[in-house]
Symmetry: C2
Subunit: 192 residues, 2 copies
DNA sequence: CAGTGCTATGTACATTTGTACACACCGTGT
DNA sequence: ACACGGTGTGTACAAATGTACATAGCACTG
C-alpha cells in the first residue's frame, strides 16, 4: 500500500546488491506495525513483507528495538514535515485555520494509518526514553509551526485540539462533520 | 500500586480457595500492561505479578485475547464511571466546566497510568472489533455525560479537547498550566 | 457426612521469537 | 587484474510463549 514492494525486480532469484534496502526495511516496518501492532511485529514478518532474508534484519539493525526506533523516528519526521508544509502554505489566520481543519479532516484513508501508528508510538514512547525524544521533537515542531500564525497559548490549545479531534474522527463510528470541526477551531482561535 | 497484591495471605503455601481471583487477575493485568505494554504482557508475567500459578491463567481465561479484552473492558468502565461521577456532581455550566478542567489536570500520578493504558487500548481496538465496542461505548457514555450540561456539538468538541489535552499533559515535558487548560475549556464552552 | 462438581495446580510440549555466525558475493580502488 | 571490505544470505539454537491436560483439593448440597 504505502511502502514500495520488494526490490525493483531484476531476477526472481538472488537479489543481491540492493542499495537503499535499509530505508525500505524501515518503510515496510511501519506497514507491518500498522497491520499487526508493535506486539505483532517481528523480524520475520518484516523480512517477509520486504521480501528479504531473515539475516538481513540483524545485519542492518542492531536489534528489534533499533528497528522500531528507526521506523517511528521516520514516521514522526514525515508527519511533522507535512504539518509544517500545510501551515507554511497558509497566508494569514483565516487560511491558517482552514489548514488546521484540513489536517484534522484529511483523507481518512491514509490518515487512519497515520493515527493508528501514532497510538503505537505513544504507547511505546511512554516506556522508552529514546522515543520520548522523538515525540518531544515532534510536538515542538508542531507547536512552532502553529506559532507562525497564532499566539503561544492558542497554538498549544490548537495542537491539543488537533490531537483529540483526529483520534475521535479515527475511532468514532460516525465522525464529526467537517463543519463542526471548523467551528471548534474557530472557537479556540477566534478572529482575534 | 493499584491492584491488590496476592491473596489475603493465609498460609504461605497452598493458597487454594481464592474467590474473586478472576477479578484480581484482571486488575493485575492492567498493571502489567501499564508497565510492559501489550507487547510485553504474557501469561507468565501476569501470573507472577498476581502470585498465582501459570495454570490459573488458562483456567480463568480462554486465551490471552480474552484476558486483554476483560482488562480493557474494566478500564473503560471504571474510567467512564469516574467521568460520569465528576460531571453528575456538577451543578450548572460553571461547575461543569470546572469539573472538565479537573478531569484533564487530575492528579498526574494515577492519571498518567490511565492515559498510558488508554493508548494501548486504542492501538489494540483499531485491530480488534470486540474492543471497538468497548471504545465506542466509552465514548458514548462520555458524550452523554457532557450533554447533561452542554449542547451536543459543544459536548463533542469538549470530549475531543479533553482527549487531546490529557495526552499532551501526559507526554509533554512541561505540561500546560491549569490556567491555560481552563482558558481552552472556556473558549470551547463559553458562558452561552 | 458422603459425594459431586467447580476451582486450582504443575508440568509438558509444540511454536515462535530474537540473535549469532560462518560463508558467499560483488563493487571498487589500486 | 586482483585483493579486500562491505553487503547479503542461510541456518542454527537457546529462550520464551501460549495452551492443553491429568491430577488434586475444597466447598457446598442433600
Amino acid at each position: 500500500m504505502t511502502a514500495p514492494q520488494g526490490p525493483p525486480s531484476e531476477k526472481p532469484r538472488s537479489r543481491r546488491h540492493d542499495p537503499g534496502r535499509r530505508e525500505r526495511l524501515i518503510d515496510v516496518t511501519l506497514d507491518v506495525i500498522a497491520e499487526n501492532g508493535v506486539a505483532g511485529t517481528t523480524h520475520r514478518k518484516v523480512a517477509a513483507a520486504a521480501n528479504v532474508p531473515l539475516g538481513s534484519m540483524t545485519y542492518h539493525f542492531q536489534g528489534i528495538d533499533e528497528l522500531l526506533a528507526a521506523a517511528f523516528t521516520k514516521l514522526a519526521d514525515l508527519t511533522a514535515d507535512g504539518f509544517e508544509a500545510a501551515l507554511s502554505a497558509a497566508d494569514g489566520p483565516r487560511q491558517a485555520r482552514e489548514a488546521v481543519v484540513g489536517l484534522i479532516t484529511g483523507d481518512l484513508l491514509g490518515e487512519r494509518r497515520s493515527i493508528l501508528l501514532t497510538y503505537e508510538l505513544y504507547a511505546l514512547a511512554a516506556r522508552r526514553p529514546n522515543l520520548r525524544l522523538v515525540t518531544d521533537t515532534w510536538m515542538a515542531r508542531s507547536r512552532a509551526a502553529l506559532e507562525r500564525h497564532f499566539d503561544p497559548d492558542t497554538a498549544r490549545m490548537l495542537d491539543a485540539l488537533i490531537e483529540g479531534l483526529s483520534i475521535h474522527r479515527a475511532l468514532a463510528l460516525n465522525p464529526m462533520p467537517v463543519q463542526t470541526v471548523r467551528e471548534a477551531v474557530e472557537r479556540i482561535a477566534p478572529d482575534s
